[in-house]
Symmetry: C2
DNA sequence: GTAGATGCAAAATGTTTGCTCTAAT
DNA sequence: ATTAGAGCAAACATTTTGCATCTAC
């Protein structure tokens, strides 16, 4: 687990620092596509002297060595996905939650048969927008309280 | 053309101001998913007293009445798409160019048959990442000049 | 005349950078 | 001992906000 991380760092000629370890562990434990600020808040509890700049630099480093993939959320922050396999996203338009989904029907799109002219394809990702279960419950509750008031 | 715009504004109870007209015309004339800054630079040529804040507020307004759809580019700005029909994107990883594509094979994904549990789907969009024709040409030129030097 | 829009400047975000000091190797 | 990395503060880029002024209706 953490051994794999140390392995990857060594291969990339990166020093193994306590900051990098604590950030990596945090990423392993939570899979809800956090942004830098969120990671900072959480990591600070175990490592109070860590700085936000270190979080940004470390996330950047992790992206470069292929440990994370970044994406832009609708809310305007860069978020980080520990899942670097080919997968797709369910994005909640209310709470901005992102749920990973892997499915052959999305993986095997007939991209080659599209009229893309001179565009050279590397990969594709499907983003499915909608409302997550939690937000559906919340909006039902709101509607209920609105009609009873 | 501009009549349709006036129509939509009236329906939404929006005043028709010269600023809104010039921004809308700019959006009609260029379809390459500009960000606020780009629109500002262009619009300022015809309307030098316009402010960037007005651009932001106007784009926001246009999104709210369904005239534009916003999306976040990898480069970190919000970009605006005048194409509000169901369509998909080719994104160049080098120059961040975004090319629209519409195709049945992408429109008719079997979303309903996916195991989404309690996620309520609204729509989906496919993002195809790769290298655009222009950037392919540029990198070939660079490689050529590197080998001859 | 009045509500709503503009333009300015200031503030708020999110992120990056330069530099000194510290720690991993 | 050397070099990479951490932490701080300052800079930067993008976007939002408050408010006084102006303008479409």
């Amino acid at each position: 687990m953490i051994d794999r991380f140390i392995q990857i760092c060594k291969e990339a000629n990166l020093n193994i620092t306590p900051q990098r370890i604590v950030i990596y562990k945090e990423l392993l434990n939570h899979h809800e596509h956090p942004d830098a600020e969120t990671i900072y808040r959480r990591v600070k509890e175990q490592f109070p002297t860590i700085s936000l700049a270190t979080i940004y630099k470390t996330l950047d480093t992790f992206v470069k060595i292929g440990l994370l993939s970044p994406f832009r959320s609708g809310a305007g922050t860069t978020r980080y996905d520990t899942n670097i396999e080919h997968h797709h996203h369910l994005v909640c338009i209310h709470c901005d939650k992102v749920i990973d989904i892997s499915h052959d029907a999305l993986a095997n799109l007939p991209i080659e048969s599209l009229p893309l002219e001179d565009f050279q394809v590397i990969n594709h990702q499907v983003e499915i927008k909608g409302v997550c279960g939690d937000c559906q419950k919340k909006s039902k509750q709101t509607m209920k309280s609105q009609t009873t008031n």
